[in-house]
Amino acid sequence: MKHQHLFKDYQQGLENGELIGVYCKKCKTFSFHSSLSCSKCGSMDLVGKVSEKSGTLETFTVIRVAAEGLTPPFIVALVRTDSGFHVMGNLEGIDPSSASMDLLGKQVKISSKKVTRDRYSQGVTHCLSFTLDQ
């Protein structure tokens, strides 16, 4: 499919249970959905492609002081998908007080959840969530 790079397409993918990335026809590198050119070779010849929904947790934090409207504590993590690009999301299914450096390098499954945004943003949106792959 010709990639549209639009947030609503990414959202529709998540609604369908798919994590969509962009795939470079030239060098076969996956980049994050919103990229208008390949993150490796710079080519604009990209197609939308369904990514692996698994990856490796590379780092995290426990947010304890949150922005208006959110209830801490919760975990934010950076994950390298098995397709090769990085995503940010919330690690769920573990007690934030038990989060430790042991999380680094753990395999995770990637899904999404609906969050209600505030008056400055785009209503109800899907946000990525991660769970440890036991």
Binding site: I63, E68, V76, H86, Y120
Partner: protein
């Protein structure tokens, strides 16, 4: 490019202000004009940094209002810059480039911000607006959160216990508070201890409250001029001998969070133009929004090898009196305060006063060359300036 220099500089005391962004910048700007021995009619353009005035004072389009309050000539255009926390440095760099190119001879630049006028949840929300609003913000990531993730990655990459990294980070905070204890313009003018940092509550693991810069109000202004004009304004012009700026981020595009790539690009640009190396820098005002950020910065700017900067503060190497590059003699963002859109201009103000030998008890002895480093957003903008007391 012709030679460009800084004449007068000024800043308000950082902290909590009852004055608006416009009023604070007015105080800083008039101070810088007086020190430059010029009047508003001599200014040819205003490059004003401000990030969040819309939320702080309900004031957009601030450049024109400040312009009129100062009584600048109608033919002097007013611009507002926004590059997150790097805002004022970007404004000053653009002023330097325009003067260097011969478009203007004398430009007033700087920034103003009144963050504390917002409550903490609102300030945290508006700061988070500088992260990607579609893809990062919905996770609830905050700026302490971004650097907290970098800290965990740093500890993992270099095989450190998080508790020992926390202690090394605390020494950065202690050192910057020590410097600020001698700075009458600083928000916090008292020393703290490592224990105090480690006992303070957790904001985003592993960053404690005292690892984090405060919310601050303040303004700072500088007069940028051609060398010919500057030497008429001051006996001690400070020359802008190299600049660099780079864009990148968000974090998912800079996934090795221990290496902020735009900094490496921007500083290389500035070093090359100036014809100096990190070893030539006597002092540096850098972006210590969080203690780990100072550690990443001293490595990214080339003062330390990657993975080797963590204990510099503990060993006293970055402290006043050290024979290595002194880091954040003003107290840095941590203790001097961080009114985001004004920060870069205050960093410039500190370096200029140091290079003129005017910094009293926190004077870096024999300082001749200084570096400014300012980072915006989730690694989105880095801007560097190299200043020297001679051309």
């Amino acid at each position: 490019m012709r030679e460009v220099a800084i004449a007068g500089v000024a800043m308000t005391k950082f902290g909590i202000s009852e004055d608006t962004c416009i009023e604070m910048f007015g105080q800083a700007a008039t101070g810088a004009l007086v020190k430059s021995d010029i009047e508003p009619k001599d200014i040819e353009a205003l490059f004003l940094g401000n990030c969040l005035g819309d939320f702080e004072d309900g004031q957009a389009h601030m450049g024109a209002h400040i312009h009129t309050a100062l009584g600048l000539p109608m033919a002097a255009p007013a611009f507002r810059f926004e590059n997150a926390c790097a805002t004022a440095t970007v404004a000053i760099r653009q002023a330097a480039l325009m003067v260097g190119a011969g478009i203007y001879d004398v430009v007033l630049a700087g920034g103003t911000e009144r963050v504390a006028a917002m409550d903490t949840p609102m300030a945290t929300r508006t700061f988070a607006m500088a992260s990607n609003s579609c893809y990062s913000a919905p996770t609830g990531i905050t700026f302490p959160g971004v650097f907290a993730m970098a800290a965990h990655m740093y500890a993992g990459k270099y095989g450190m216990d998080i508790s020992s990294l926390s202690e090394y980070m605390a020494h950065v905070s202690v050192k910057n508070h020590f410097h600020a204890s001698m700075n009458p313009k600083a928000q916090f003018q008292k020393e703290i201890s490592v224990e105090k940092v480690l006992e303070s509550f957790m904001v985003a693991d592993p960053l404690h409250f005292l690892d984090c810069c405060p919310f601050s109000d303040g303004a700072s202004a500088v007069v940028i001029a051609s060398k010919e004009k500057a030497v008429q304004m001051t006996d001690k012009p400070v020359y802008i001998i190299g600049t660099g700026q780079a864009a990148g981020g968000p974090v998912i595009n800079n996934p090795d969070m221990t290496r902020i790539k735009p900094r490496e690009v921007a500083s290389a640009m500035a070093y090359k133009e100036a014809g100096v190396t990190p070893g030539d820098i006597d002092l540096c005002e850098l972006h210590d929004c969080f203690t780990i950020a100072e550690i990443l910065a001293i490595e990214g700017l080339g003062f330390y090898e990657f993975g080797k900067g963590y204990d510099a503060a503990k060993k006293g190497e970055t402290r006043l009196g050290s024979d290595r590059t002194v880091i954040n003699p003003s107290g840095g963002l941590k203790a001097k305060g961080h009114p985001i859109g004004a920060t870069g201009a205050a960093q410039v103000t500190e370096i200029v006063e140091q290079l003129r030998g005017e910094s009293k008890e926190r004077q870096v002895e024999g300082a001749r060359t200084g570096l400014v480093d300012t980072l915006g957003g989730e690694f989105g903008t880095v801007c560097n300036l190299i200043l020297r007391s001679y051309a």
